[in-house]
Every structure is written in C-alpha cells, then in structure tokens.
C-alpha cells in the first residue's frame, strides 16, 4: 500500500486528478492543508473512485472550520493517525 | 554553482582575472589557456597534453549542456571523446587528483559542478 498525500483542493487544482490516476487499487489518499476542501460533502464526489480509502487531516479541517462539513465517507485522522498511515505504507508520494 | 563574490584576482600576463572564494572564475568569458596554466601553476601542476584534452572535453560538455558535469558523466564524456582507455576514473584521478570533476571544471574556467558533493 502506498500513501498518497494531496495538499491542493479539487475546486482550484487538477493535482487531485494526477494523484487519482497514479493510485493502485490498495493505495490510500490523505488530504492535508488546502487539500481538505476535497473532503467536504459538496466536493467529495471528485474522489468517489477511491471510496473507503480517502482520509483527511483533522487539524487542517478544524483550522478552516470545516470539520462539520466533512463527508461521512471520509476517514478523519489527527497527526498521530497521519504517522500511523505513513508507517503502514510502503512509501509515500506527495501531490501538490 | 557560479558565484559572483570576488575573492581575489589571478594575474595572467597583464590581465587580472577575478576568482570566487573557491577559485572558480567569476566571468567565464575571461578564460584563456594561459588562465588554465596559471590556475594549475598555483596548485603546483604543469598541464600536459593529457590534461588539455580533458579540459577540451569538459568545455565541450559545458557548451553543449550548459552545466559542468559530475564525475560519472565526465568519465562518460571523456570515454566517448578520447576512447575507453581514458574514460576511466583512475585516469582522471591521476590527472586531476582529489576531485577530478571539480578540479577540471575550475581549470577549464567553468562553474563548480552542481551535482557533486
């Protein structure tokens, strides 16, 4: 399993498209920084191809006041959870 | 990387050639064969025919790719231009001891190789 990390929102950057294309069937995607906009219920459709393998960083959602808007299909992790995801992965690939 | 900080001047004939703190030329256009000889003389070296052919290879490399080569590509370029017998790191180590890519670039009036620690 490879952990992909995306820090750009699908509303203004196509980086998410490159990330999705590059993901294998077991890979996970973690949204951080402005990437967490993609976890909002109104945006999460961009990630339907990886349903169940989408994560978002709690601290970045909170900072932007978006935790309440985060879709139920997204797994919210804190920084410790981020570390765990990294440890479970063979490697990480960043998209920005 | 090429530096623009002038550390000292090298006197070659009646020219004053500006050098950076590591001894590389500030103005690459100021290079002449006499500059190479003066730089080598400072290190107690006299340039032989074998030195000159490598200097020519590295200058060709720079004019083609706009960058000074690290050791591996220098070895490859020398091998392509002068034959496999010379395209070996021992040959270059003998001519330009310590760090052939850096020493040869300096004598050839080129920037310090960027990809070379």
């Amino acid at each position: 399993m490879i952990l992909h990390i995306l820090n750009r929102p699908p509303s203004s950057s196509l980086a998410y498209r490159d990330a999705l294309v590059a993901m294998g069937s077991e890979d996970r995607l973690l949204l951080i920084e402005d990437g967490v906009l993609g976890a909002m219920t109104a945006q999460v459709r961009h990630f339907q191809a990886i349903d169940g393998r989408l994560f978002a960083l709690r601290e970045d959602l909170n900072a932007r006041g978006l935790l309440g808007q985060c879709d139920a299909s997204v797994q919210v992790v804190d920084v410790d959870g981020f570390v765990t995801l990294t440890e479970e992965a063979d490697k990480t690939v960043s998209w920005f | 990387m090429a530096s623009t900080e002038i550390d000292r001047y090298l006197n070659v004939d009646s020219q004053h050639v500006a050098l950076d703190p590591e001894g590389y030329l500030i103005d690459l256009a100021a290079w002449t064969p006499a500059v190479a000889e003066a730089l080598a003389a400072e290190e107690g070296r006299v340039l032989s025919e074998e030195h000159w052919e490598v200097i020519e290879v590295i200058r060709d490399f720079y004019s083609r790719y706009q960058a000074s080569p690290a050791m591996r590509p220098l070895v490859k370029a020398v091998g392509q231009a002068l034959g496999q017998e010379k395209g070996r790191s021992v040959h270059l180590m003998k001519l330009f001891p310590d760090s052939p890519a850096k020493v040869a670039a300096r004598l050839a009036g080129l920037p310090k190789p960027a990809n070379c620690l």
Binding site: A22 | R64, Q66, A67, P69, K76, A77
Partner: protein, 125 residues
Amino acid sequence: MRSHLPVTGDLLVILRQVPHGSSWLREGLDAALVAAAFGQSVTLLFQSDGVLALARGQQSGPLGQKGTAATLDMLEMYDIESLHFDLEALERFGLTQQDLLLPAAGVDASSIPQLIAGHRLVLTF
C-alpha cells in the same frame, strides 16, 4: 514507442510542471541528476503539463532565462535513459511522439500505478 512494464529502479521522479513557468521542473531534474551521479537507477515520468518539457524547439525565456532542454539532452550522460510520458496528456495538447526532443516511452494512465510501485522512492515535482 510504448513502455514495457514493469519498469523498476531506485528512484522515480514525476515531473508535472511546464518549463519556464516555475522552478519545479528544474528542481525535479536536478534531483534526478544528483541521484544518478551517486549511482542510483533513475526513471523519469512526464505527467500532465510536464509532457511539455519534452517538446521540441524550446528556447531561453524572454529575459534570457535558461530553459531545461539542455538539461534533458544531458540526461543520457548521467545514464538516465528510462524516460516515460503520459500518453493522454500528450494527446490533450495535440502533440505526437514526433514532436518530442528525446526518445521516451508512452504510458497509459492505467500503467502509472505500476511505475510507482516499481520504485523504492518516488518524488513528484
């Protein structure tokens, strides 16, 4: 030319940015050169807008800024010869293999995960 997978190596550098627009492309190429200078086997993937780095006929910028075309020519001197590009991206710009300045292998989007899986380290730029 199509890519024959699996392609494996120490480092995969994914280049996604246009020449001249930012320093990302140059930095990605520099990372590849450093790794190759230390004997690592390096693969490049030109993805999305990054395929334009391979376009023929690039020159210096309006203020004389050096582009990356000379650096691409230099890759073979560092034994970086495993070059791949995103076929769909090239088509998106209306370009074909004949428009490229280097021999590179086209990969389908569906092959990119394999390319990533085949390398120990993956850097994106």
